[in-house]
Symmetry: C2
Subunit: 301 residues, 2 copies
């Protein structure tokens, strides 16, 4: 990897970030044919196709590896210049982090406010989406992620943060109308349910844990893909759902929600994935997040 | 369009939804070569390339038009079977709708709870993302959208819903620390700011309306891409920002937020875009949303 000419690597990054060869040429102040030439040479040198010539241009799997390398290179270069006091006017450190929606809605932002802002660090948060977070990490578009996936992305380290706790709840009116005609395992599969998105299996798994025939939640499902919207939809009586403990507790106390199975909890392990790279701002944030998670989440054992 | 053989149109839809020719073949219970053959014939008949052979397969601009037609066809067919009482066990009506994050966090969910649920309608909400919402409507992946874009998508009607109102606010501690050294137009460009995502220009436009040199908000920007997270980040003192009125008001009353320019508001017009198609469930939802918006949003004039 060290043998790759940096101008070619930087050109690849510019093409991926700008989306087209022409836009990359404009950003780099070179001609489009120079951009095209550099990419061709880089592909010859690596022996791999690095870019899909779509609109916008997208890196191939091999291309993602080189793009991550390019971003890490830029980050290290910036740190070195800062330390040497020769940094160009490149602005404050910028930390792109992917965070799953429920963490962002509960413990994550208070944790971020604890990160010392001297020198200032700008947070560039992305909503985690498991389908894309691995690609975001692989391409180096985010430096770190709070995710429920324990599977390490290539080039990243993983450490457990703790367990996020969910409570199966509904509004009292909803429970009276849909869940009072018999035992829960019989009523629940036919009742309307709130589901975060197509990948959210929490509700189905919960129903399967109750029923003997292995059936999941019902067909009357509303998809509400924001954390607060999910909780609001349950409180409004559109359906039942598994709500994060910090959001459910005040609503249980006020009587806006009721537990479907008092005392029953569902725990989901969360992980911190980050680049294997010694960036001081990233290390500071990682340590702050880990200690905040230890206070806000439940213990793994 | 009426001349296109329906089996070929349905096959195109299956390929787009399943992502590969093989998966589409499995879903349709035919061989992959039959799928490939039908797509080729459809492309010959329309005289257009309909699919990009990427992984997953994606429709071209022309392909999107045919895909939308296929979805509308399926929706009409379903309605007809329901009316004739010959519907297969296809489940309740499912309405995919894209909604911008701030609407979803404020007035939209209470509006949805007013939609009569007899017969039941399942809501399939997508977070609006202007870059993708036009494509979602064009492909027919959503039937309707609440969006700040007045530009009608091909095949859709647009109607104004009203004005969403935003307040420029910060925490009192933040204002004392960053905005008390001089007039606002001098302090604001240097102060940390919360921005929703790369397409969010509200804060920059607000600063530009104050300054004479046309400069936008500062470089110390934190990106927080959820509506509630945005508001939480402002209240936590990470930066100033333009917060939707319904979220800002209780925090202004409790003293957690303070107005940067008392009385100053920024209004953003919202629109309802939907398929030009007479689906009863869609008409019911559109009417309910429009009347709820008239109550919750401000008047256009």
């Amino acid at each position: 990897m060290n043998e790759l000419p940096f101008d070619q690597v930087r050109t690849l990054l510019a093409v991926v970030d700008e989306g087209t060869f022409d836009a990359a040429a404009a950003a780099l102040h070179v001609t489009p044919s120079a951009v095209s030439q550099r990419i061709k040479m880089l592909e010859q040198r690596t022996g791999r196709v690095l870019l899909m010539r779509t609109k916008p241009v997208r890196p191939t799997e091999s291309g993602q590896v080189v793009v991550r390398f390019a971003r890490q290179l830029a980050s290290l270069e910036r740190d070195m210049q800062m330390e040497l006091g020769i940094a160009a006017d490149s602005g404050p450190a910028r930390l792109p982090i992917a965070v799953n929606a429920d963490s962002l809605a509960t413990w994550f932002l208070p944790a971020l406010t604890r990160v010392p802002q001297n020198p200032p660090i700008c947070f560039d948060l992305h909503r985690e989406d498991e389908a894309h977070t691995a690609a975001l990490l692989r391409e180096g578009r985010v430096m770190a992620a709070v995710t429920s996936s324990a599977e390490p992305v290539a080039g990243c380290t993983v450490r457990p943060l703790g367990l996020a706790r969910y409570l199966p709840v509904a509004s009292p009116q909803f429970a009276a109308r849909h869940l009072s005609a018999g035992p829960l395992e019989r009523c629940l599969p036919g009742a309307p349910v709130i589901v975060f998105d197509r990948r959210d299996e929490l509700q189905d798994r919960f129903v399967r844990s109750l029923t003997s025939d292995g059936s999941g939640a019902g067909r009357l499902r509303h998809y509400v893909p924001t954390s607060e919207g999910f909780c609001d939809a349950v409180a409004a009586g559109l359906g039942w759902g598994l709500v994060p403990e910090p959001q459910a507790e005040p609503l249980l106390r006020s009587g806006a929600l009721t537990e479907l199975l008092p005392g029953r909890r569902v725990d989901v392990p969360l992980y911190w994935q980050q680049w294997k790279l010694d960036v001081p701002a990233l290390a500071l944030v990682a340590a702050t997040i880990a200690s905040a998670a230890a206070e806000s989440l439940h213990n793994q054992d």
